[in-house]
Symmetry: C2
Subunit: 476 residues, 2 copies
């Protein structure tokens, strides 16, 4: 009896495995529900469950909370992960990073270009109708339709709602712990100016978001790039030694689904990191902008979760997930709150009262959770589809990250491939991505690229990745 | 015959003069129209005109374009103007300017405080209903309700409309010359970071808007404060010598209705100033935020009007006159445009798409001009009322500026009066103003204060100024 049952679930599992193998069922696709499978195959619910457990054990499929089973990898081949990112030095080019950034993003509003370059979602997947309703509500509810300045710390309803979001990742925070900002970059700017002086040194991950590098440069800060592993994040031993040696005044890290590596620092590392910054009493600016875009069962924690002494300045915004153009960002600046408020007063006095009031209302009526649930599923599926296509169309030697959240893949090509040159070629085919060189001030990562999977999967996207692959093959 | 007529108009003029003298007709009040006067007094239109001409000649009344005659000063006494602002050194206090700024503005959203401290207009005089309509229009017209990012340079409709505003003050500019920003402070920040490096020296007026001082300090810039005259503005001879001596990299001046002095640089001085910055090929950041709030017949020109080589970066916003909370600012950065765009990309990527689209629409349908006409009349009258009350309630030795635009008065008290101490006392009476010390990094102007006349004249305002006067008398 038991043997036959064994046989049965293995038979079913094998059938599914073959369909995955032959690409009949594609990476990211949803499998039939357990009930449906039992009906289709004429097997018991238990057997159907066993079949899925077996495939899950083999790493071919995965269950997603309240959603069902999904195909998570192609059994034939999976591109290897990149290792801890170490310098790949090349002769300095005569183009500066800033020049490159401007060239890459000069096409940002050209609709004819297929943009793998921007780590944002297309407006078609954003809740524009609900946000418009929230704006109309704010026009009605705010004094003089929100035409005046806000209080310096920001809209109170919005701050209260932001505090509630912390339920998902930590301690109890209140509206009073939050300072609103004009998007997340503004939050980073205020936190950096509040915790450093021009000439100071700060630590960033390597590779690091080019925006943070450019910001630091603009503020006259020196940058130490800390080696970072695509799975566990920044190298803490290295950091612990580097802080006193380089007189680091602040760390600026993207701890969850880092941009561009996609790594999510394990909770224990977060706790250790907080201990390190407490030991030296320096600031940790934690950019958590991708934290809500997790694919797993739970939202990852933050360093702020473990912050007892107020050294952590958490920064976030609604720009990645809800409304980029509304410029709704914030920081929870811990013990630096007074300084951050002072910087906010010096820089801009007030955020956009109307859109901030609207965002507060949107969060209050629970639209954010609802919207995020769908967004996460979509992004998870897209991450797998994109990774599979890269595997299929890029050279065998290609390495690619496997992010468990966020919206970007980091791709490592062979050492001699210069991705800025590649970019100039793909642009002729109306395709843009981010060359790796943008993610360091040290002339590194010339053989790497960041590919955003924010755009929904389509024939056009597939053709785009195929074209990039072909061009790489030609450069081999 | 002629003699009688003479007699007649003098009789009427004398009557009016007495009424002004006795405060029956108050400063800032509108006089009956010429037609009305001729009817009331049973005189010809010509005689009525003559009476007003006579009073205008004596400087008691003034005609305002398309509006009629107004009482412009009290014949009895007029506080003298302050001279060119020179250092009044006092022992350094242990409170920093930044601390003072925070203390002065910590009450900014407390509705129970009478605020002479903020150089903005109350929302009650702003066009909130029209702006709300423009927002609803933008929600309908923009792609996805304006939820996405804008192009880097800013909303095109808005930029086109801003270019049209330059009709009033100069050359032909186009949408392509304009870069939008998150308010005027953001424009100043972008322009400063585009034209300087931390450690560089810039020139500011003295006294100077504390926001500019704090901004410069925050960016690691050194500040040279240039002597400034309440009528003609910054001392150009001084500047011409100072630029090479102090290796000045940029000047940041409020050329029209300067904050806090209220001075409006004569056109010829503007032209000379442009020649000076051209000679040394340095940047002139021109903050024209009060330029549209003129009381005279014509809008004053700008330095940008005379800028042939692109050295001038004009900055402005709608925050003073239309919608502070919408965060609509801009710059015309001349030859520094690429650098400014780069800084904008690094700092915040996008302005608030929705409110910027709404502002574009508001300007397009001609609401701005209409709104400004009423606002100017109101501010002109208020400036006179406030000045008169200061004259009446403050000590005899008080000096006060006579701005021809903008919304602030600069008041100079006797040397031994410390206005920061005065501020702490008035605050107990729920009255706030800006102590002079805020307007310099050099521990100057401790005996000065800035009084904003943005709040419509009322019994409460009068009582407030009376209370400040009493407290000064006690400190004499």
């Amino acid at each position: 009896m038991i043997k036959t049952a064994d046989h049965l679930y293995l038979q079913v599992a094998d059938k599914i495995e073959q369909m995955i193998e032959k690409d009949v069922m594609k990476m990211g696709e949803k499998l039939p529900s357990v009930r449906m499978l039992s009906k289709q195959q004429g097997i018991s619910l238990t057997t159907a469950f066993q079949a899925y457990y077996h495939l899950e054990g083999k790493g071919l499929i995965e269950s997603r909370p309240k959603s069902g089973y999904y195909i998570c990898r192609n059994a034939r081949r999976m591109a290897p992960m990149p290792g801890t990112c170490a310098p790949v030095r090349k002769p300095a080019s005569d183009v500066t990073v800033s020049d490159m950034v401007m060239e890459v993003f000069s096409h940002i509003t050209n609709d004819n270009i297929l943009k793998f370059s921007v780590a944002t979602l297309p407006v078609s997947v954003l809740p524009s109708a609900k946000m418009a309703k929230a704006v109309v509500h704010a026009l009605r509810e705010q004094e003089a339709g929100g035409i005046g300045y806000e209080p310096l710390q920001g809209n109170e309803l919005l701050r209260g709602q932001i505090a509630r979001l912390s339920l998902g990742w930590g301690e109890v925070f209140t509206a009073d712990d939050v300072v609103t900002t004009h998007g997340c970059m503004d939050a980073l700017t205020l936190c950096l100016t509040a915790t450093t002086q021009p000439g100071d040194t700060i630590a960033l991950e390597s590779p690091s978001y080019y925006g943070a590098l450019q910001l630091a440069e603009g503020l006259g800060l020196k940058v130490l790039e800390v080696p970072t592993n695509p799975i566990t994040g920044v190298d803490l031993d290295y950091l612990d030694k580097a802080i006193p040696r380089h007189k680091i005044k602040a760390c600026l890290f993207v701890t969850n689904f880092n941009n561009p590596l996609g790594c999510c620092m394990p909770d224990q590392h977060k706790q250790e990191l907080v201990k390190i910054v407490e030991k030296y009493d320096i600031a940790l600016i934690e950019d958590d902008i991708y934290g809500d875009l997790y694919f797993g069962k739970q939202r990852p924690l933050t360093c702020k979760t473990f912050d007892k002494q107020g050294n952590v300045l958490l920064c976030n915004s609604l720009s990645k997930s809800v409304a980029p153009g509304y410029r709704v960002g914030w920081t929870m600046p811990g013990k630096y709150k007074d300084k951050v408020l002072r910087m906010k007063h010096h820089h801009a006095i007030s955020c956009t009262s109307l859109t901030h009031a609207a965002a507060g209302h949107f969060l209050e009526i629970g639209r954010y959770d609802f919207h995020l649930r769908n967004l996460r599923k979509m992004l998870h599926t897209q991450s797998l589809r994109y990774a599979q296509a890269i595997c299929e169309y890029f050279p065998e030697s290609t390495r690619v990250t496997r992010p468990q959240g966020g919206c970007v893949l980091w791709v490592e090509l062979e050492d001699h491939i210069n991705t800025f040159e590649l970019f100039q070629q793909t642009l002729k085919h109306k395709i843009a991505f981010c060359p790796g060189r943008l993610f360091s001030l040290q002339n590194r990562y010339n053989n790497c690229m960041r590919i955003s999977y924010g755009n929904p999967w389509s024939k056009q996207v597939e053709e785009g990745l195929k074209t990039i692959g072909k061009l790489i093959h030609k450069m081999q």
